[in-house]
Amino acid sequence: MKKHFEMRFGGTGGQGMMLMGDVTAEAAGIKEGKEILLTKSYGPESRGGACRSELIIDDEKIAYPVVSEPDVVLAMSQKACDSYTGDLAAGGIIIIDSDLVKSVPQRGRSVFSIPITRIAKEVTGKEISANVVALGAVAVLADVLDEEAMKEAVIERFPAKFTEANVQAFEAGAAAAEELVSGQAKKYA
């Protein structure tokens, strides 16, 4: 497993990209005991257009709080995909919401297309759960993350009454990712 790991969750305001950062940081930092450093879009920047959260995970103290070569980029909108994938690390992966991102700047990178928002709608009835679906997918695809820790972090983040829906969303995301990894994901494509 890579010692220093960078990830970026990009979308538009309201899609819950900030929350994805929080949950992942909690899972990796508190549950897994790794060092983490999380930054987010801030101020006017975050008030329209693309916004993102960025997480660095490391076994050691993290000195420099800037993600410069992300290993994982999630793009939940076309604009996010356009703005946030240019500096992907060699060997890094891009995860896109296949309904919202029409074109991925191709530079020979692994792209995982998942209809994230559509899955959310189908599983929980609510588009707003898209970020939980995405968390499931990310948990599977970013090998630095532990799926169980992530799920727990999701559960703890919300009031109990949402647990069931969230678990479903998370698992659906994870499943979609698993399928892609095992090359069987044709269902939503």
Binding site: A25, G29, L38
Partner: protein, 384 residues
């Protein structure tokens, strides 16, 4: 202090959250402020949490009023704080000087952003080092601490309250726009670890004998609160031990001004704080504070791999500055490189020290971006 719902062992917090929670842990029960990027979230969190613990949040009309209200609240017995950034800090200077002269325990957080003037509100910088000491007119003491991580922001903010209470003086904490908004995992210390300090109270009978500026051998006068039953007076004019103006009395003026400097100077060993990293055999000493000190370590490690003996001296308290400790390192070092995100303010402080003549090099960045390890590494390799 009661353990707050916000205080489990480990938490992921932003710098601004850590400052607020550190303050609450140290007993902050009054906050007055005026929003300003990148310090705003401290006010926001305070406005939500303080009333939950019986404390008070006041959003004042500006920074002048914020600093004034903080001082007023402290006189009424509160542990009071404000938080701002450069432009607000500039506006607070006059009333901050009141706090210094009238020996008012209180805490001021300056979340530094790129200056001068409006500068760039969202970009980090370290441009307020000199202002934190010299921003207001006349000589005056202050304690300033400059943490370098979210965890340290928590602890140093708490310590700022303790020092404010102990030494009866305003204490500043310098954060920056980067640390303010990034989250790190921190361990929330237990209340015992923080060792809450409360201001010394007078024990004289409640008649007119209480002199608010009469100090014992510690140089720190006990402080009553308004409403305690003592009836006392305090002035922003230089005053004698009674708190009343001593405008015609050179001796009293000198006595007062000397004592307030002395109460810091003589306690420097307890107040000052610094970190050394790989300095044992270092021939090149990097001096850096806050966020820059973090990347400095990377640069040092890299240089050492190339066989260059580099080390880090990180002042945590800027004022008082850990002179002696640095001079000890300076004596052994061939070169000292100050690394900072401004035009060289730290460098000036280091130059002041005896024993540094001709040894000082600097690397600065003053464009709103963070300094990188490579910038420091390159400088090390240049001067080595």
């Amino acid at each position: 202090m009661e353990k707050t719902a916000y205080a489990p062992e480990y938490r992921v917090l932003t710098g601004n959250e850590a400052v607020t929670l550190g303050a609450l842990a140290a007993g902050m029960n009054f906050f007055a402020g005026y929003p300003i990027t990148p310090a705003t979230e401290i006010a926001e969190l305070a406005s939500e949490l303080l009333p939950k613990y019986g404390g008070k949040y006041m959003q004042m009309e500006d920074e002048l009023a914020s600093m004034a209200a903080v001082i007023g609240a402290s006189f009424a017995g509160s542990k009071a704080m404000t938080a701002t950034s450069g432009p607000g800090c500039s506006l607070m200077q006059e009333n901050l000087s009141y706090g210094m002269l009238a020996e008012v325990p209180c805490v001021l957080i300056d979340v530094m952003r790129q200056g001068p003037c409006q500068g760039v509100a969202t970009m980090p910088a370290q441009g307020d080092i000199m202002q934190s000491r010299w921003g207001t007119h006349g000589d005056h003491p202050i304690i300033v601490t400059a943490p370098s991580s979210v965890e340290e922001l928590y602890r140093e903010t708490a310590r700022a309250f303790n020092m404010a209470e102990k030494y009866r003086t305003p204490v500043m904490v310098l954060s920056d726009a980067a640390m303010a908004h990034m989250s790190e995992k921190i361990r929330i210390p237990a209340a015992e670890e923080l060792c809450i300090t409360n201001r010394k109270k007078p024990d004289v009978p409640k008649d007119r004998n209480y002199k608010p500026y009469e100090a014992d051998e510690t140089d720190i006068p006990p402080m009553a609160s308004f409403g305690d039953g003592y009836r006392w007076f305090v002035s922003g004019i230089i005053h004698d031990e009674t708190g009343f103006p001593a405008t015609a009395d050179y001796e009293k003026i000198a006595e007062k001004l000397t004592r307030i400097e002395r109460k810091i100077d003589w306690n420097i060993k307890e107040i000052e704080s610094y970190e050394e990293y790989r300095t044992d055999d270092a021939e090149i000493i990097i001096v850096a504070i806050g966020i820059v000190s973090r990347v400095a370590k990377g640069a040092i490690d890299k240089a050492r791999k190339e066989g260059v003996k580099a080390g880090l001296f990180r002042p945590i308290t800027l004022w008082p500055f850990p002179d002696e400790a640095l001079q000890k390192q300076a004596a052994k070092a061939k070169k000292i490189i100050t690394a900072e995100m401004n035009d060289g303010q730290l460098s000036r402080i280091v130059k002041e020290l005896d024993g540094t003549d001709g040894k000082i090099e600097k690397v600065t960045r003053n464009d709103g971006a963070l300094m990188t390890a490579d910038m420091i590494y390159d400088r090390i390799m240049e001067v080595k």
